[in-house]
């Protein structure tokens, strides 16, 4: 009797169908299309022409793509290391019981509310070597003329600093909320046992945050591999091609040089590298095993 009633109220697949169809059309179909487009020549107007492997064989001869991959690799590695080194301790600290925390968090997290283009426009004005804030802090860090984005050697570092400035608040927030979920009993017990603050951080906080470290790292790595809004606005890839990271190279190839076919090759490359890296992280760290042990999510 109960089984009959129960079955009557179970929703069928039809309830999930609209979302699935929608997602298939606007997210999965483009994924398939980009692979198809990588075998065509298309200038954005008219119809794509099938050219077989022409774009892919050009990939092997393209000097820019090696350079862009290298820049993306540096950017990804450096911003990952720097953002983690800042946001993890900052998040742990922000989870504590300081006075005036509400005021502090208001400042800490405000960059989260500004759009990428807002941040880029702000920093472009700020980095102006004549009237911007760069005229003041340039000399502090050894750039006397405050010209951060005009020099090839400095431009990439400046971009990495801006990207970190933009995303550290988000990761700090992740670490803060994860730290708050660590049972305080653990710290109380450790204090009773005479463990110092650093020992507690190493033996309790870090292991308890493992899950968050992995989540945050995957987001940072896949994010900085594909993200280019700030670079586009601040340097446009320059000076020269000093900040032409791979996703920006893809965008400019597609929407500025109108070589949509070859740009699709670069998109496929981005998708492949991003997916491979996140799978690798998940594998190496045993993330899947951990998640399967947790209930709910």
């Amino acid at each position: 009797m109960a089984a009959v009633a129960d079955r009557s109220a179970r929703p069928g697949a039809i309830w999930a169908a609209p979302a699935l169809v929608y997602f298939a059309v606007f997210a999965l179909l483009p994924m398939a299309l980009v692979v198809y487009l990588s075998f065509t020549r298309w200038n954005g107007l008219g119809s794509p022409h099938w050219t077989g492997l022409a774009n892919w064989s050009y990939l092997l001869r393209d000097p820019q793509v090696i350079q862009s991959l290298k820049l993306s690799g540096i950017l990804t590695a450096v911003t990952w290391a720097f953002q983690t080194a800042v946001s993890l301790p900052l998040g742990v600290w922000a989870a504590g019981p300081q006075r005036g925390r509400a005021v502090l968090s208001a400042v800490f997290f405000t960059p989260l509310l500004i759009s990428s283009s807002g941040i880029a426009v702000l920093w472009k004005a700020l980095l102006d070597p004549n009237f911007g804030l760069a005229t003041i802090f340039g000399p502090w860090v050894g750039v006397d003329d405050g010209n951060f984005i005009g020099r090839p050697s400095l431009a990439l570092w400046t971009i990495m600093a801006v990207i970190s400035w933009q995303f550290i608040p988000f990761h700090t927030l992740l670490y803060q909320s994860a730290t708050r979920q660590i049972p305080s009993v653990l710290y109380e017990a450790a204090t009773v046992d005479g463990a110092g603050r650093f020992q507690q951080f190493r033996a309790i906080t870090l292991p308890q945050l493992r899950h968050t470290i992995i989540t945050s790292s995957v987001l940072m790595i896949v994010g900085s591999l594909t993200y280019f809004e700030v670079v586009l606005i601040i340097t446009g890839g320059g000076p020269g091609a000093a900040t032409r990271i791979l996703p920006l190279d893809m965008y400019l190839t597609g929407f500025s040089a109108f070589q949509m076919g070859y740009a699709s090759v670069l998109s496929v490359l981005l998708l492949a590298v991003g997916t491979a890296l996140s799978l690798l992280i998940v594998r190496v760290t045993g993330y899947r095993r951990m998640t399967s042990q947790r209930e709910g999510l």
């Binding site: 109960a2 009633a5 129960d6 109220a9 179970r10 929703p11 069928g12 697949a13 309830w15 999930a16 979302a19 699935l20 929608y22 997602f23 059309v25 606007f26 999965l28 483009p30 299309l33 980009v34 487009l37 298309w42 900052l90 600290w93 300081q98 800490f108 405000t110 989260l112 509310l113 759009s115 990428s116 283009s117 807002g118 880029a120 702000l122 472009k124 700020l126 102006d128 004549n130 009237f131 804030l133 003041i136 550290i168 988000f170 992740l174 710290y187 109380e188 945050s216 594909t226 280019f228 809004e229 996703p247 893809m250 965008y251 597609g254 929407f255 998109s267 981005l270 709910g296 999510l297």
Partner: protein, 295 residues
């Protein structure tokens, strides 16, 4: 819902005086405090520069140092609004509202089906959706451009809304399902004993009990739509359908170095709605920002 939030309210209403040593309190962490103070300066200075400079006249911007006291020249804001930003703001509101509506309408029944359905198809489709969490939107701009032009939607607000909603959907469904799983099975059973079909169960039971989750995904979606840049960039070019993020970039391009205060006023203006939201619903907003990642 009401049952769960009640004890919390009680605790807050009646603060019990405690002996000072009962609760564990760590000593002040001096090195971390210093680090946090340094970070406060790194975050705070650009923000101060943003607001202070947006209130200077052009001449004052060139004469006064970037860190001098803020001006009182509110005229920049009027100038920005006169430069088409009213249109951009209206477009942003339409894009944001449209995206949130699509996501809520699609995600709620999907989440319900994923949690309660026995169909294998639903479970498979959920795994596909979860894979979607890893698809970076940037890598699909070229095929989306093809798709949108073929649908004759190029240069319309719908062109921005449709893909934005699609890329938010996986996270929205993930957050909703984890909330809907907390609804006790007995409630479903008693409703079906009363003869309610899936539609009624969704409307009368699932939706009211997953309100916090709906708020979270609504905010998460709204933030993504409000601050979206990449889809407006490649799917529109007409100023009539320009969004704020694109307007900022364009404004800097045309005003450039000549009128930095107005450019910065535009940035501040684009941030204001979210800042207001932050002041009135900090918990909700921060929850929406981290959505499923914060778990």
């Amino acid at each position: 819902m009401t049952v769960r939030s009640a004890p919390r309210a009680e605790v807050r209403a009646a603060p019990v005086p405690r002996p000072p040593h009962r609760r564990y309190r760590p000593r002040a962490n001096v090195p971390a405090g210093i680090g946090a103070a340094i970070w406060l300066v790194i975050v705070g200075l650009p923000l101060y520069y943003l607001v202070a400079s947006s209130l200077r006249s052009r001449d004052a911007y060139l004469d006064a140092g970037p860190l001098s006291a803020p001006g009182t020249h509110v005229g920049n804001y009027g100038e920005v609004l006169g430069e088409g930003f009213v249109t951009y703001l209206v477009n942003n509101v339409v894009v944001t509202a449209g995206t949130v509506a699509i996501v809520l309408v699609l995600a709620a029944p999907a989440g319900y089906a994923i949690v309660r359905s026995r169909s294998r198809l639903v479970r498979t489709s959920f795994s596909v959706m979860l894979l979607g969490l890893a698809i970076p939107a940037q890598a699909t701009i070229i095929p989306l451009y093809l798709l949108i032009t073929r649908l004759h939607l190029y240069d319309s607000l719908l062109a921005i809304i449709l893909p934005t909603a699609a890329f938010v959907l996986p996270m929205a469904i993930l957050v909703l399902t984890s909330q809907m799983r907390d609804i006790p099975a007995e409630l479903y059973e008693s409703m079906s004993l009363d003869g309610a079909g899936p539609g009624l169960v969704l409307w009368r039971l699932v939706l009211p009990l997953s309100r916090p989750g709906l708020v979270t995904i609504g905010i998460y979606t709204a933030l993504n739509a409000w601050n979206g840049f990449i889809f407006p960039l490649v799917l529109t070019q007409d100023p009539a359908v320009r969004t704020v993020t694109l307007g900022l970039w364009d404004f800097q391009g045309t005003q450039g170095t000549q009128n930095v205060p107005a450019v910065l006023a535009a940035v501040t203006l684009s941030l204001l709605p979210l800042l207001v939201l932050y002041l009135f619903g900090r918990r909700h907003l921060l929850g929406g920002l981290t959505a499923g990642f914060g778990k």
